[in-house]
């Protein structure tokens, strides 16, 4: 017969040791990355050029470093990553780039 100790052991081995996050904050971070990807994909579908850049100016940095909570976008305290969204639009018969 399965005992409580068996159940605890199985939970530890099969689930707890593989928990993808250790706090609600980490779960939120994962959701925010997913949301960012959706926003960028939507922008790409509207023909924007998507890029990634760090606060020190490194283009397409690795790893991508994001904040765990809101901060100042111009901060150089750490080499945080942000995405760039560029739209080329026609204005007065010229094509101009709008960056977000």
């Amino acid at each position: 017969m399965t005992t409580l100790a068996d159940l605890q052991e199985a939970y530890t081995a099969l689930l707890e040791s593989h928990a993808p996050v250790m706090s609600a904050g980490q779960a939120n971070d994962a959701f925010e990355v997913y949301t960012l990807a959706l926003v960028l994909r939507a922008a790409r579908e509207e023909e924007a050029a998507i890029g990634f850049e760090s606060s020190s100016g490194i283009v397409n940095p690795s790893p991508l470093r994001f904040r765990t909570s809101p901060g100042r976008i111009f901060s150089t305290a750490a080499d945080y990553t942000h995405a760039t969204i560029d739209f080329l639009i026609a204005y007065n018969s010229k094509r101009i780039s709008v960056s977000m």
């Binding site: 250790m22 960012l36 990634f52 397409n60 909570s69 111009f74 305290a77």
Partner: protein
Amino acid sequence: MNEKLAVLLSVIGPRERTGWLIDQVKQSFAQGVSMNVKEAAADTAFNSVEPAALTSRERRKREKYETTRPYSESEKLELVRQALDTIFLDLPAMQTAGMEQLRKLGAHADKIEFLAPDEPAEEQGEADLQYAKELVGV
């Protein structure tokens, strides 16, 4: 609390990696299930906690508001099951999908790191003001 739920919470609750999940589930238990007053009024248990002296006009007026009722034992069990599903199935799928999507959009990074923000939120207001002043040359 029914025995199955008590055992489940005792297995998952006091854990380093998943204890937070049960804390959140318990918070949801405490908040109850959200429902409108009209719906709740059909439940005799709700009538017993309503002030007796309400006029019918006041009762009708209350019907547009939201209230909560306690979770049933089976709903609590279902909430724990959903929370485990979300953390062990949905979240890893979301992490993978997010990373794959960023790569498809041109990211070369092989991983994502999360760092604490540069300053606590309460200090940011002053820093933002200072930055704005610098921008406009004040």
